[in-house]
Symmetry: D3
Subunit: 256 residues, 6 copies
């Protein structure tokens, strides 16, 4: 039976909130270019599949996904949709305020979009905690796969790279055109890396300026990383790792 709120009558929703022990999962993604080989909805699909798999094991309530994210730098390629971060904050805040009114007191925001969405999510989470008196946690694949990515032989976090690609190959094979993928190996940059697992000195992340993103998009269709190294089996290990982590996070909240 589906854990998605939208499929339930209000009586069923009331029952599901009780069974969730007050924990909801809100998947947030993006609609942005993901190279020649992945769909623009990749980040949202990632958030959705993690949410679904974890809900099956924990009965957490699934809130309809926020398909859109903050992607100003990816507007250099068609199909990208970018929403101002303050709008996304307001949107997710209102969602959480509504959930609170019905008994949800703990929310896990899943961020399929990685480093960019985290920024506004932190502001939304802080505000929701302070004003609504709920607990909000932000679950991001890039931060929750530090323990596994190296073991799998994947390179650093880039964009539409082997990590995302392997994951999509496992969960949404029909949406991946691996044959079109083009590599763009990540060149180490002095004092800067967007990989949360980076252990050296770095400036903080700032979304790329348009001109810089445009240059980059010309190299390999917007890909940063090496999708040719993608592997569906590794994608399964990666997915299972994240689901296990998410289940752990949800269960701890349920026990509070």
């Amino acid at each position: 039976m589906s854990h998605w709120l939208q499929t339930k009558s209000w009586e069923e929703a009331a029952e599901a909130i009780k069974e969730s022990k007050g924990v909801a999962i809100l998947p947030v993604g993006s609609v942005e270019q993901h190279g020649f080989h992945l769909p623009v909805g990749t980040d949202s699909y990632v958030a959705i599949t993690l949410a679904e798999c974890a809900a099956e094991k924990t009965n957490a309530l699934l809130v309809p996904p926020v398909w859109f994210g903050w992607s100003p730098h990816h507007m250099v390629r068609p199909g990208t949709i970018t929403i101002r971060p303050e709008v996304l904050m307001d949107l997710t805040y209102d969602i959480m305020a509504s959930l609170k009114a019905h008994g949800i007191t703990k929310v896990v925001m899943i961020n399929g979009h990685r480093i960019v969405n985290i920024i506004w999510m932190q502001m939304a989470a802080e505000k929701a905690q302070r004003e609504l008196g709920i607990t909000v946690q932000i679950f991001d694949p890039a931060y929750m796969s530090k323990d596994i990515v190296g073991k799998l032989g994947f390179g650093a976090v880039g964009h539409a790279e082997e990590v995302e690609t392997s994951h999509m190959m496992y969960r949404y094979p029909d949406l991946v055109h691996l044959e079109k993928a083009k590599d763009n190996p990540i060149k180490p940059q002095d004092l800067y890396s967007v990989d949360p697992a980076y252990t050296h000195d770095t400036l903080c992340y700032v979304p790329s300026a348009y001109s810089h993103a445009l240059e980059n998009a010309k190299i390999a269709g917007g890909t940063t990383g090496e999708p040719s190294k993608s592997d569906v089996e590794k994608g399964k290990v990666y997915h299972d790792h994240l689901v296990e982590r998410l289940v752990t996070v949800v269960r701890r909240l349920q026990e509070k």
Copy 2:
């Protein structure tokens, strides 16, 4: 092949935008109580199914749905999520601004939520037309079924009534629990009706106050109307009528 933007790579998106002749459909719904028998996502499902059916015939581009609407009065029952109208305006404005950047010049916003969402959609549409220089039209089932609803023997527009229920029975039978439906016949009110087909003098629509909505929700689980009169065959006629209308609207925009 899917017309949903999220399923496409950016190269496919570019191609789809060309084939759409610059027309996108943006489905908007709500997550709100719909009586004992319909899912809280009803309004979104209605918008989504109309969008999908019309896109198949016209190649209009389908934008990922906005699941959430403005539903302050339905917060009286669990599962309802309400977003401030100004946030929804900003969200859909940003979506349209992004689409514009990629060549979409005509947008049909489908409103599955009927009378309430129309308000902020009108403001979003006006702003998008003025600032982005695009054409925006608002397609609402209640306004686009005036020609057919009477013929089908349906009563006035209410909430979770025979019109919506028949439609959902035809398109999403698994999500309808007709056996739980409870009738709450619409009593004529002097100088007031929310039905756009109403031909007599009326005050303008204002979303119900919480206390009033709470009273109403106690009568038949939030239903206003007579879902017992629902009929899947009529649902089909109703759906086909709306799809035909939507196809007409899209084609005219494509010819501009």
Copy 3:
């Protein structure tokens, strides 16, 4: 004796609020082009005269008029003033919040501007009901004359057409230059009408884009409809009908 708040000392205002049984009328109009023959303040004058006539019979409190409305599409002709709808919402919200502090618990907003202002008024009314705990009703001549307009032989709602013109001829004859009026008969449009009495399928209203309004303004000086069919006697019947409706609306609120 005047029912306008602005003419009263605060002691008289306190007395008037008591006599109003907690009901205030807030007239809202616009300053926008009304063809060659009507003044730009027409919509405001309409709201004001209805308010005055109904107050005389009910002792409702008259709040100073909001002369300005939302008229982006009429900026194509000089004299038009347009205020952003969010500003008008804030303005009227603050007026109602102030009234509430002094004992007004029911407000009738009269909209002389018809279909355009209704949009933001609905948002202002909902917010006032929810946050201030008052009752707000929106009284619009176009929606409150459906029962009479057909009988009078008037055509559909347009702009500066025979309905508005006849009304102004009856109430403000000095401001009407009928000799300058130019007809611009309303051509039926498939799947679209701004007339609230329209009984067929229609897209929802969106204020015209500038370019479209500019085209229209060239035809008959901004008039849509047939002012040559105007008649002061019909104007009187129309006015009396609306005043009677408004009196009914106010009295019901007073009895609550």
Copy 4:
């Protein structure tokens, strides 16, 4: 013939703008308690009458009045309406932006409300000058009567005091109930005065806190000053002085 914009057709408005040499007068007032003897609309009436008299002599365009001002401290008595200053800024900015579009390049804002409204008017004026490229001047009776008030034997600027009362007696005798007026002589305060003519050290003006305004309103019905010293003849001299000043200001702008 009236100089009020609202009375004119758009063709007449175009003509009037030309005759105004690009100068409009925007009267702004307030609706707030004015003691036992003056109407709550006093500040607006003051702005309106000055505007009308100066327009007759200069052909400046009269814009419909903004009846409402910022009056948080006067909410202690019924009939007062207070609008947030940021809303008034937005409202008057939009008015000026609309006027600019039709050829008005110079605006005189008349402030009948004295010291309180000036604050947000300064911000609105600066923004209009910077963003619209127009010239905006703020004409305030209290600042434009420093040369005459002493000669007339009036005391310092208070509220509903002999200055305002004499002015209203001359221009709107029917709205003044002098027999109800109660004196509340202005006691000198060390290092503080709201009178713009005050020549000694002073803290800057801040609108009174509610509790302080409440105390004050109990003394003489909200009056600060000595209305018993009012005199219709002095009111005429005062009025003529202000009109002369306003005419000078308008003419200089017309000559620019």
Copy 5:
């Protein structure tokens, strides 16, 4: 021992708040051109030195300075930084709200920037008084030196004139390059003066338009007034006068 909050541990801050008897001083200035001879931080230095001297005598708590002010018109010369007034309002409101949470109930905002900053400070002060229930006073050198400036033989308030220059010479001699100063005597203007000590009829202050400020900046490097008349001894008298006034203001608040 320093009275600046930033230098104290939280235990020391708690003690300092107690000793301040609930009174904090918030120095606000600007970073804007001040002619050839004064530093762009002049207004902030003025606020800081007054605050420091008065705190020594009263134990008022010193809040870290707001270096930046509203200076749109001085952007004509490099080094000027201008902040939108609504941002400055929000910033100082949040500072006061935080202080309130720790026991500060009375705040003196010192405005080193004179007439321009006062505008938004009045709005911030009113809001803080109303929403936080604290007392806020605005101390501005130009308004608090009316009693002394004439005696010292200084001319009217201009910009970087002999008053500011003498003050800076006394308190920050290293930052003054008197040898570069250029005079720009203030020419009387009919019906307009920015000097708060001006006793004749005047329009209200509006910050200069860019083009006007640009003209002015060409005359004497942005100076308005006669810095050649500056004198360090007079600067001392002026400073001592203001400190004495500020001490008086603080002590009265402490006694409340």
Copy 6:
């Protein structure tokens, strides 16, 4: 000679901007509790001293510091001042927009407040890059000392811990009361760490809820970490490392 903008006349500012090769440093800190032994201004002092030392070697322009940061969770102890992040974004955006107008095209924001301020700085930096066309980099001590902190034998990033304390001992010895410091060793938490050098899976950072921060503040006066391990010599090494990094960052920008 000082590199601070505020100390310069506008002519000197113009010269300094030229010498800076278009690079400005904007130090941002916070005013928040830092345990029993460090001043509440610690974060600002850290940003200021790094800025000063790097400017000496690079001639970068120093912009007056933003003393205040976002510290909602530290309001549990007196002396803390928290500003809403959107206000800080607006403030720093306006500062950068003003700098841009005078020729600064590259800004390094130094964040003395570590992980919390980064959030809004990322949004401000993105907006400035996109709208102003400048380059903005965020320099944070915690992210720029990953290479050195382990070598020095310091523990993880906490609050007022041995890292900050050693740094303050070296640069501002008079403001440190080491004798009052109390240790609160950082306990490893499963799936969560705020240390940017943490190499394992983690949820993303969200500022603590008030209740949680209150609990924590009771343990060691708000300290998290082991200040007893502080050492002035290590503080020097740490400082020199950061200054060297900052100099590198500035020089690269100057060479662009």
